[in-house]
C-alpha cells in the first residue's frame, strides 16, 4: 500500500506550478467530479440512456497529467478520465449533452457514456476495446516525430488493460521507434470485479525497462505529483528520448459503472482510500495557502447547474441523421486543429 498521499509533495511548493495553476488543478478536479455526479443523477432519473461510468477518486491522475500537456498535444482518455476532456477544453455543457444523447453533444448522439472525444480540442475519443487507443497514440506520436513537431501524444489505460496484446505492441513499437508518447497507467486496483492480483503477478511498471522505456511510479491521487512526472515525461518525449510509462497508483471509489454495487471490494480498502481523496488533499493544500476553496466549489457547482440546464434544453438528434457520416466526404480535419482554451501547462 502506498503511503498517505502527498505528504512530501505538500510540504514543498512545486517547482513548475504557480499558485493559479494549483488552483486550476483543484478546479478541474472539482469540475470532473461535479459533472459526473450530475450525470449520475440524470442517469438515475432516467434521462441518460445506456450505462454510466465515472472516475470518482481518480480525478487527480487525468487532471494532473493533462495539465502538463500543451494545447497541441493530443490525449486519448479512458473511462475514468473526464478531467482530461475538461482540461483540454471540452465544455461541461457539451459533455452533459453527450451523456443525454443530444444532437449537439460532442458525439451528436452517436456515442454514449464516456465514449467521446473532441477532436478539435485534441481529444481522441476512446473505443471500448482496451487498450486500442495506445497504438493510436503511438501513431500520432510517430507523425509528430516524422514531421519534427514539438508535440507528444498521451494515452491513458487501466491496470486491467495491461493484459491485452495491444498494450504490448504499443509499448514495444513505441520503444523501437522512439516516439514522443506518454503512457499513463491508472492503477486503480480493479478491472471491473477483477483485483489486480489476478490481472498480473508483478506491477506492469516493472515491464517498462524491458522494453527500453523508463517506468515511473507516482501517487495517482496527488494531482501535483502526477503533473510533475508527466511534465518530465513530456520533456523527455520532446527531447527525442522516446516514450515513458507512468504508473499512477489510485483507487476506483465507485463500482465499475453505476450498475455495479462492487460488493467484491472490501470495505476496509474503500475506507482507507477515502482518507486519501485527491480533491481533499489539494483543497487542504490550497486552504493552507489561504485560497477560498468553498467559493471555488460553489463556483463549479453553479457552472455545472447552468451547463445542465443548457444541455437539457438541447434537441435530440434527427432520426434521419442516423445513417449519415459513416464516411468522410470532404477534406479531413486533423486532431487538435481547434483552439484549446484551457491548454494546460504553459
Amino acid at each position: 500500500m502506498p503511503s498517505p498521499a502527498g505528504g512530501a509533495a505538500a510540504a514543498a511548493a512545486p517547482l513548475h506550478l504557480e499558485q493559479s495553476d494549483r488552483v486550476a488543478l483543484l478546479r478541474f478536479m472539482l469540475l470532473h467530479r461535479a459533472v459526473e455526479d450530475r450525470g449520475a443523477s440524470l442517469y438515475k432519473q432516467g434521462k441518460v440512456p445506456g450505462s454510466f461510468y465515472d472516475g470518482r477518486g481518480q480525478e487527480a491522475t487525468c487532471v494532473g497529467a493533462t495539465f502538463a500537456l500543451a494545447a497541441a498535444d493530443p490525449v486519448c482518455p479512458l473511462i475514468r478520465d473526464l478531467g482530461a476532456h475538461l482540461v483540454k477544453g471540452t465544455p461541461p455543457r457539451d459533455v452533459l449533452a453527450h451523456y443525454l444523447g443530444r444532437a449537439d453533444g460532442v458525439s451528436h448522439g452517436r456515442e454514449g457514456n464516456v465514449h467521446f472525444g473532441d477532436a478539435a480540442h485534441g481529444v481522441v475519443g476512446m473505443v471500448s476495446m482496451l487498450p486500442d487507443m495506445m497504438v493510436v497514440a503511438v501513431g500520432m506520436a510517430l507523425a509528430f516525430k516524422l514531421r519534427g513537431e514539438q508535440r507528444c501524444a498521451t494515452s491513458f489505460f487501466g491496470d486491467g488493460a495491461t493484459s491485452v496484446g495491444d498494450w504490448h505492441e504499443a509499448m514495444n513499437f513505441a520503444a523501437v521507434m522512439q516516439v514522443p508518447a506518454i503512457f499513463i497507467l491508472e492503477h486503480n486496483n480493479y478491472a471491473y470485479s477483477t483485483p489486480s492480483a489476478r490481472q498480473f503477478l508483478v506491477d506492469p511498471v516493472e515491464r517498462a525497462a524491458a522494453y527500453g522505456i523508463p517506468g515511473v511510479s507516482v501517487d495517482g491521487n496527488d494531482v501535483e505529483a502526477v503533473f510533475e512526472v508527466v511534465r518530465e515525461a513530456r520533456e523527455r518525449a520532446l527531447s527525442g528520448a522516446g516514450p515513458t510509462l507512468v504508473s499512477a497508483q489510485t483507487m476506483r471509489m465507485h463500482g465499475h459503472g453505476l450498475h455495479d454495487d462492487a460488493r467484491y471490494v472490501p470495505p476496509e480498502q474503500l475506507a482507507e482510500w477515502t482518507l486519501r481523496d485527491p480533491i481533499e488533499l489539494q483543497s487542504k493544500r490550497l486552504a493552507a495557502l489561504g485560497v477560498d476553496v468553498d467559493a471555488l466549489a460553489a463556483d463549479v457547482k453553479a457552472e455545472v447547474d447552468k451547463a445542465t440546464e443548457e444541455a437539457l434544453a438541447m434537441a435530440l438528434p434527427d432520426p434521419a441523421s442516423a445513417t449519415t457520416g459513416v464516411f468522410c466526404l470532404g477534406e479531413p480535419i486533423p486532431v487538435g486543429s481547434g483552439d484549446a482554451p484551457w491548454s494546460g501547462f504553459r
Binding site: 440512456p49 444523447g101 452517436r110 454514449g112 465514449h115 493484459s163 435530440l316
Partner: protein, 327 residues
Amino acid sequence: MERLSLMPQLTYLEAISDALRVAMREDERVILLGEDIGEHGGAFKVTDGLLAEFGAERVIDTPICEEAIVGSAVGAAIVGMRPVCEMQFADFVACAFDQIANVAGKLHYRLGLAAPIVVRLPSGGGFSGGPYHSQNPEAWFLHSPGLKVLAPSSAEDAKGLLLAAIADPNPVLFLEHKNLYRRVRGEVPDGSYATPFAARTVREGDELVVIAYGAMVHTALEAIEQLPDASIRLLDLRSLAPLDEDAILAAVRDCSKVVIVDEANYTCALGAQVSSLIAERAFEYLEAPIVRVATPDVPIPFAPVLERAVLPSVERIRGACDELLAY
C-alpha cells in the same frame, strides 16, 4: 413438442445459466473461461452461482485477454477439455478474431484435430449500448470455415442449443441476444437435452415466409401479428452454421414470397446468404422479389432515437410484408 406442465418457467438468461450448470454437473471436462465470470457472475450474471458450485478451477476468471481466452480454450480442448468462453460483450470477439478464424476454425481440416470449444457472445442492440456494445458479429464467422454458429430466440432453445454446442466436437459461436436475456421467458425442460442445429417453424402460413433468428424472431412475430388477414409463416433459423437449407427451401416452395430479417449490418449478412441460396435453388417458386430487412451499414448509434432509426423495427418488417403481399 409436447410439454410437461411441470416444466419451470425460465428467462432466456436463466436458461443459459441452467445449460452451463447442467453441462458442468454432467461432464467434468466442461470449464468456463472469461472476464469477471467467477465471484462476480459475469457482466450479465449468466455465470452467477457457478463459482460457488464448481470452484475456481472450473470457473476461471481471466485477465483481459480475448486472444488468450480463446486460444487457451483451444489448447485445453485439444487435450480433452470442453471449455466454454465468455466474451464480456460480443463486440470484444473482434479482439479474439485471429484465434477463432485461424486457429480454432481450421484445426480439424488441417491437422485432424478437433477443438470442441464454445464461445458465448452476448450480442445485439436495443438499449443504447452504442457502437461497441450492440454488435451482431455472426457474419464474420459464417464467412470463416470450420465454425458452427448458433443464435437461439427462445429460452428453451437457448438451453438446448447451448447443451448441444458444448457436446459438439467443433468450435461453436453461441450468440445470446442481450435484449432477450430478461425479456423472454418460457418453459424449459429440466436436465439435459439437445436442440437440433436446425430451423424451427414458429408460426405456420403459406402466403409469405419471414425468415429470422435471435431477437428478430420476436420483432418479426409482432409484425406478423399486426397482419391477421395474411397467412404468414415465420421460420426461426436457430442454427446459422450449419444452415438449414432444406427448411428454407421448403418454406419458399410453400410460400413463394420471402422476407429475410437481420439485426446485423446489411452487407454480407446472413440475410444475403439466405437470399442467394433461394435465388439459386428455389428461383422457380418465387413470385416476388426477395426482400431483406437489416440494419444499414452503420455503427449502432447510442441515442435511442437514432438506434431505433437503424435497427429493424416492427414497422419496417410489417411494411416489407405488406409490400410483398400486394405484389
